[in-house]
């Protein structure tokens, strides 16, 4: 399953952001993912408003020292992983 650049990811049912000991986490049924740096930047934009392309654009600016194509591939890979975990819905 591949991620559509024009879709708008949002947290799936049963998934929400949380915080513990000043560490942001993505809470979901029976598990939690620590969010740091880029992963936090990505997940906090998964609100059903940003398209995947917009998330990529903003992170390319934020991490302007990194190679833009590499940033895009990393984001797509991470979104696919979250989709497999059923942490995201993709609205079209």
């Amino acid at each position: 399953m591949s991620v559509d650049l024009n879709s708008r990811p949002r947290l799936a049912a049963g998934c929400r952001m949380g915080e513990n000991n000043k560490q942001r986490v993505l809470l979901m049924p029976e598990r939690a993912l620590r969010l740091n740096g880029p992963s936090l930047e990505i997940v906090s934009r998964c609100d059903g408003k940003y398209t995947v392309a917009q998330i990529i654009g903003e992170l390319q600016l934020l991490y302007s020292k990194a190679e833009p194509h590499k940033v895009e591939q990393d984001i797509l890979g991470y979104l696919e992983l979250l989709q497999k975990e059923r942490a995201l819905d993709f609205d079209v």
């Binding site: 399953m1 049963g14 949380g18 049924p29 029976e30 975990e85 059923r86």
Partner: protein, 377 residues
């Protein structure tokens, strides 16, 4: 060498042992706590606050049937406002639409509905009560809400052949997650083991079907399969390692490293009424007992896998070998593995194995002398 202690991450709150079901594999102890010993709303709510302060992220409300607590909505609200992610692990039986609405409003994050089979007659036989139709109704009500949903099918020899029908229920429900959890043999399940262990042929078929279903449901439903560990090559990392991640509180407030821990003789459990959660987690005898690696014997002690599976399950070692320090006997490296093989041989030999390779074995359920789970007095 002192062992570094991590935060607990999950709090399993066994709110009550009362339950409308009488499942023959119930993981509750054979000696059940009565209602009069159950913790009050206030004590539970204090426990949730202490848990969140100690680093716990998630609270799993279970039992018994957690909905048997008249204060369940308050408990959900208080756990959520303490900062925990709240899961309700339920049979769905004592639930109506108004109660579900109230639970969602109170902040319930995740609803886990248990199924005893796909077919009504199987489910009723296993649970010792009529339950299936109501569960299917609950699934329809749940479609109104955007909360996490897991379907949990506990599978074993008597229902594993209904897997396709179970998957149809899953697909219709739109659940984000399904667990096919093979019975683990403790408590009531240990007593009924010889009627519950699947055959190798059944298991192979099940694994194949689940692989196919995983592809079909990818992006829609995540499938979690819990293997029957008697068939495994290596043991499960039980509760993620003793005293590493999880703390279970019994209906009367005893704090356990895992639900089966009372089978280990001489283990004393601290109670949340007398001691703080953090103190229990860090210092109590029960949590220290098998934390880290100091307790290990060979072959665990020098095994490369010891940081992965932590020597397996202490309670299973106790139940099958009489020594809680032994390597989990399901491990292929365990000196006591022949005990597990002997159990499997009994299930797979004789008339149940190999006769008709294509068709799964069907044994009429009415001939079984189940030991049904009782209710607390």
């Amino acid at each position: 060498m002192p062992t570094a202690i991590n935060n607990p991450l999950a709090l399993v709150a066994e709110l009550t042992h009362r339950c409308p079901l009488h499942c023959v594999y119930c993981s509750n102890p054979l000696e059940l706590q009565s209602r009069s010993n159950e913790l009050s709303t206030e004590i539970w709510s204090g426990v949730f606050k202490e848990a969140a302060a100690a680093g716990v992220l998630q609270a799993d409300f279970t039992g018994g049937e957690p909905l048997a607590r008249p204060d369940i909505v308050d408990l959900v609200r208080n756990a959520r406002s303490a900062g925990l992610y709240v899961s309700l692990i339920t049979s769905g039986l004592p639930l109506d639409e108004a109660k579900l609405e109230a639970l969602v409003q109170a902040g319930l994050d995740h609803f886990q509905l248990s199924f005893q089979g796909a077919r009504e007659e199987t489910a009723n036989d296993i649970s010792g009560t009529k339950s299936q139709q109501h569960k299917l109704r609950v699934l329809q009500w749940l479609k109104r809400y955007r909360i996490g949903l897991t379907l949990n099918f506990v599978i074993h020899r008597r229902n594993i052949d209904e897997l396709e029908e179970m998957l149809a229920i899953v697909e219709d429900s739109g659940a984000g997650r399904v667990e096919f959890a093979s019975v683990q043999y403790y408590g009531w399940a240990f007593a009924n083991r010889d009627n519950l262990l699947p055959t190798r042929q059944q298991l192979d078929r099940c694994v194949k079907l689940l692989h196919r279903a995983e592809e079909h449901l990818s992006g829609k439903t995540r499938i979690v399969f819990v293997v029957p560990d008697y068939y495994a090559k290596f043991p499960k990392p039980c509760v993620g390692g003793w005293g590493r991640k999880l703390m279970l509180i019994t209906p009367s407030g005893d704090a356990l490293p895992c639900h089966a821990a009372p089978v280990i003789p001489g283990l004393k459990f601290a109670n949340v009424k007398n001691r703080s959660l953090r103190e229990i987690w860090e210092h109590s005898e029960a949590f220290q007992k098998f934390r880290g690696e100091d307790w290990m014997q060979e072959p665990c002690k020098s095994c490369d896998r010891r940081a992965q599976d932590f020597g397996g399950c202490r309670c299973q070692a106790m139940l099958l070998t009489g020594d809680a320090n032994a390597t989990d006997p399901v491990c292929s490296l365990a000196p006591q593995r022949p005990k597990v093989d002997a159990v499997l041989a009994k299930i797979n030999d004789g008339r149940t194995a190999g006769a008709e390779l294509a068709s799964p074995v069907v044994i009429s359920a009415d001939k079984i002398n189940w030991l049904y789970r009782a209710n607390p007095v």
